[in-house]
Amino acid sequence: MKTYKAPGRDGFQPFFYQSWWRVIGSSVCKFIRRILDDSVDVADFNQTCLVLIPKILRPEFLHQFRPTGLCNVNYKILTKLMVNRLTNLLLSLVTKYQSSFVPRRQITYNIIVAQEIIHSMGKLKGRKGYMVTKVDLKKAYDRLKLMGVGLSSQIVNLIIKCNEIASLQILWNGTPSANFAPMRGIRHGDPCIFML
């Protein structure tokens, strides 16, 4: 974790955790373990500030902002942990036709395969013709809905809790707004992004 990332609502930066790990380490570990055992509710510390960063000089519409969530470090530790456990599983879950977000698969593989196929299609003879459809999807992460993929119910519950029971506040000119709960989407930079 980067040392001086913007802090979440509790105000602690990763710097605090890293420099005082000797003192707080064991209690943080205990806390995370209790969440994984489902004896503590994630909602208590899963409070996120949303900051709207303008993409252009004079933004007029909402889509000209890039929302950035500031999570608590505790929460980040939890999600990192879950992702690290799930990445091993991912390789068996994600088909070989998809190469993003999976360790040891590279973007160049896709480019090469696509080039080869389209090259051979350009030279094709014979009766059977083929087509390639290049699909353009609207902004994936902003409108993502979660779907279960056959994991154990405990971990699925935890993931859903992390994403849906989060309470968000928009930080507008330095003052936080009222709480609200997100309906869909995933936070930018959330390690959970791996699991799409």
Binding site: I107, I111, Y130, M131, K134, L196
Partner: protein
């Protein structure tokens, strides 16, 4: 995206989706994903287009994605008659192109 991948593989397995054979004994390619960039390969026919649209609609419905029809393009292999190509692009609403533009920032076709 994983969901859609499995959806397509199922359609391929049942024979409804006819994928592109790289060579006679080589593997079949039905789709290629990188994050939300997707390329779908199939035989050029109206029935296959219907199958493609079917899969896309189903996927959009349960994942909350949306296909931008205006930006979606179809590329046909050289031996597809232009009347058939026009028919397919008309029935799907996607535009027919002989240049796919850039896929993952690299042009997939070199002239």
């Amino acid at each position: 995206m994983t969901g859609d991948s499995h959806l397509i593989l199922k359609a391929v397995e049942s024979g409804d989706w006819k994928p592109f054979n790289i060579s006679k004994l080589g593997p079949c390619m039905s789709h290629l994903f990188f994050a939300d960039d997707m390329l779908l390969f199939s035989e050029a026919s109206e029935g296959q287009m219907k199958q493609v649209l079917n899969c896309l609609n189903l996927f959009c419905e349960f994942s909350g994605h949306e296909v931008i029809v205006a930006k979606t393009k179809i590329f046909f292999s050289k031996n597809v008659p232009s009347t058939l190509a026009r028919l397919i692009s008309h029935s799907s609403g996607f535009s027919n192109t002989d240049n796919l533009g850039k896929y993952l920032r690299v042009p997939p076709l070199h002239h």
